[in-house]
């Protein structure tokens, strides 16, 4: 289909383009950005007052299939992603069974392709069954479509195995995605600090993150592997990453929307929607994470989407399943951060588009040139954002099968800025907001 998106403010953070312009789409590609006079569109979209931007690239979205279909299905979660303006997403391997077999990965990719809501880039399990004792067949998994290897939220206990895994992955140029958490120190349910002490919750000290970061950075130095650090949560962790990057250690990092906006004080009276992993830390940590995202120490903002069923949340705090539905909120929460901290719009949008695409780099294959960007001749993955629209997040407004989020309007009383009006995936409309 030939689509013409007219009169919008076109922002491409990677190139610095920011102008009022039209975008012409045909055969799945952007054929022109500018004044497309001779374009014979089958569909014209009036984007006056809206921002036309690259589709979001979300580096952490759990789809809950296979194994947790009662909490989320490929169908529901990919639709939710499209509603959030996301056109490419990375899913961690902690499904049940974990993504440690090429067949599983092929099936997942095949089914996602048929749904045409969002591009799916799976991470393969770094170790068999994520158990941390034997390597997976990385060459086979990568051929099946894995763009990197990860332990998801399962910490590796055996440092020798971690070093071997990095050496082996480096042999083939695979990126290893690691959440910095020491297995022995990260068994608690809330961040160490006054709130957890007061509420009598078991704690995760900052050292759980920093001890693991020291280990990972040393092993990266020793092996030359490329590592992406997932979900930084502390000011001390940010400092370590900043110093390692300054030395040229080949690492990138992300933070999730919850750690960027919330603190442990938000747990209130044991609100299980605040049961998250990594746990929410203190104000100083949140401030450091926000600054690090602005100055590029942290490369990307991720939703860390993890739909959780009501039954798994309506439990005492420690027994509740960690996680929240967030992929539909990613863009709004990026905008809120940008507005609160005075980060300019292009830089704000880069953290959910071109920067996560840069983290993925060559692992995207043919898609690498156009992911997270708006370029003539590039793949037409984009979204149209109405920045003046604010929306109260409610259970009813979420397409995700999981209905739990700390940003629920009934709890916060705060509406979020910016709503995706339209998402285009490979030149076709993957989501269109109902006319308001």
């Amino acid at each position: 289909m030939k689509i013409l998106i007219e009169h919008g403010r076109v922002i491409d953070p990677a190139s610095g383009r920011d102008e009022r312009s039209d975008v012409a789409i045909a055969d799945g590609r952007i054929v022109a950005i500018g004044r497309a006079v001779d374009f014979d569109a089958e569909r014209r979209i009036d984007a006056a007052g809206c921002i036309v931007m690259p589709g979001l690239v979300d580096l952490a979205v759990r789809l809950r299939e296979p194994g947790h279909e009662h909490e989320g299905m490929l169908h529901s979660e990919l639709k939710a992603a499209a509603a959030g303006g996301v056109t490419s997403l990375v899913c961690p391997p902690d499904t049940d069974p974990p993504l440690d077999e090429p067949g599983l990965v092929e099936m997942l990719k095949f089914r996602a392709r048929k749904l045409s809501s969002c591009r799916l880039f799976p991470l393969g399990a770094l170790t068999r069954g994520l158990k941390g004792d034997a390597l997976t067949e990385m060459a086979h998994l990568s051929e099946a479509g894995c763009i990197g290897f990860s332990q998801a939220d399962h910490a590796v206990r055996d440092t020798n195995l971690l070093m071997r895994a990095l050496q082996y992955a480096a042999t083939f140029g695979h990126t290893v995605w690691l959440r910095p958490q020491d297995a022995w120190l990260s068994t608690g349910v809330a961040a160490s600090g006054a709130v957890a002490t007061r509420l009598g919750l078991s704690t995760v000290p900052v050292a759980a993150e920093t001890v693991a970061l020291h280990t990972i950075v040393e092993l990266v130095r020793a092996t030359g592997a490329r590592v992406h650090l997932c979900r930084l949560s502390s000011a001390a962790g940010v400092d370590l990453v900043r110093r390692a990057k300054a030395e040229g250690v080949p690492i990138t990092a992300d933070v999730n929307v919850h750690s960027l906006h919330l603190t442990d004080v938000d747990i209130g009276y044991f609100n299980a929607d605040m049961r998250l992993s990594p746990p929410l830390r203190q104000q100083a940590d949140r401030d450091a994470l926000r600054r690090a995202l602005a100055d590029g120490t942290i490369d990307a903002l991720v939703s860390d989407h993890n739909p959780v069923a009501d039954d798994a949340k309506n439990l005492p705090f420690a027994e509740a399943e960690p996680g929240a539905s967030a992929v539909e909120l990613l863009l709004s929460l990026a905008l809120k951060w940008g507005q609160d901290d005075g980060v300019d719009l292009a830089r704000t949008l880069a953290r959910v588009t071109s920067e996560p695409a840069r983290v993925l780099g060559a692992s995207l294959g043919a898609h690498a040139a156009s992911a997270g960007r708006l370029i003539e001749g590039g793949v037409a993955d984009l979204c149209v954002l109405d920045p003046s629209h604010t929306w109260p997040v409610t259970r009813e407004s979420l397409l995700s099968q999981g209905k739990h989020t700390p940003f629920d309007f009934t709890a916060t009383g705060t509406a979020l800025p910016g709503r995706v009006r339209l998402t285009v995936l490979a030149g076709g409309v993957s989501h269109e907001a109902p006319a308001s």
């Binding site: 160490s192 009598g200 919750l201």
Partner: protein, 318 residues
């Protein structure tokens, strides 16, 4: 974020649940202590009953084992003329796959007026209070709170010391895992005690506790010096050896309350303990049975305090 209204109070600021002492105003605490005073005399009567909860059903829901606390709650409810139903759940229904909220929904359908809840997880009574119409009294949740124990401790302190405003109170032992310590700290600071000390090794007494308004002491002599009230906590068997402490004997030597350590406190200091005591571990027998000990009167006060709590919340509409 919104919805930060203390869930224990109704829109008029009246107590409808007792979940934690944290956030309760001083006059609510004083009202409970004053009411408990009037009930103490009931316990001395020949007919130990008042009709305040006649026709009401009180369910004792103990997801964790307890003899003493459950018994005192049962006595308190019976002296208020309530119908008392004891359910020793101790995880049996959860083992059968029933969730906590399903258990509560079923019991609510039996027209429970009040749940007295003990649970191994911090915050479980809050969850129950959010999901049922009955009044909820927390009888101990995880490490979080044991508010009736905190209140009976305050009753004992007021009974023996009269005025909170000049006191130095030392709480000794495993503070980090203790719901009693947390409730005592909130109650003492709310009632205006100028110095609350928490005393023990760094593994059991983390520095984060300072945020609760207490002085952290890692030296027993420093903790004892000039104290008016000493609250010894029970050291749980599973914590006596391992990563937190090397042995019970070493704890007894360093932080156990012996006559010579007690001698550092004020001459008229009182010694309290929520029970059950480990003789020879956190407290020497000669101290537990000595002149300064008020451990047994605490138990008596406990019944009056629990009567007061139940009668007050039953009289307030959600």
């Amino acid at each position: 974020m919104l919805s930060r209204r203390n869930p224990q109070l109704n829109a008029h600021g009246e107590l409808i649940h007792l979940l934690s002492i944290e956030g309760l105003p001083r006059d609510v605490l004083t009202q409970i202590l004053d009411t408990a005073g009037t009930f103490l005399s009931v316990n001395d009567r020949d007919v130990k009953k008042v009709p305040l909860l006649r026709g009401k059903s009180v369910f004792n829901l103990f997801f964790e084992n307890s003899t003493r606390t459950r018994t005192t709650f049962e006595i308190a409810a019976k002296r208020l003329s309530a119908d008392v139903i004891n359910l020793d759940i101790a995880r049996s229904s959860t083992a059968k796959g029933e969730t906590l909220l399903d258990t509560i929904a079923n019991l609510s359908a039996m027209h429970a007026d009040m749940f007295v809840v003990r649970h191994g997880e911090s915050g479980a009574p809050h969850l129950i209070a959010r999901h049922c119409a009955a009044h909820v009294v927390n009888a101990g949740d995880g490490r979080h709170a044991h508010p009736t124990q905190g209140l009976l401790d305050m009753y004992a302190i007021r009974h023996y010391k009269r005025d909170f405003s000049q006191l130095t109170v030392a709480i000794v032992g495993d503070i980090v895992h203790s719901r009693v310590a947390r409730s005592d700290i909130h109650a003492l600071t709310t009632l205006g005690v100028p110095e609350v000390r928490v005393v023990g090794p760094r593994t059991l007494v983390p520095g984060d506790l300072r945020a609760m308004g207490v002085r952290v002491c890692h030296d027993m002599a420093e903790g004892m010096r000039g104290a008016d009230v000493i609250i010894m906590l029970r050291l749980q068997n599973e914590r006596m050896t391992g990563a937190m402490l090397p042995s019970a004997a070493e704890f007894a030597k360093t932080f156990g309350l012996t006559p010579d350590k007690l001698a550092l406190a004020k001459p008229d200091a009182i010694v309290m303990h929520p029970g059950p005591i480990n003789r020879g571990v956190e407290i020497d027998s000669s101290v537990a049975d000595g002149q300064a000990s008020v451990i047994l009167p605490q138990v008596t006060f406990g019944i009056a305090v629990r009567m007061a709590v139940m009668s007050i919340i039953a009289g307030n509409e959600a």
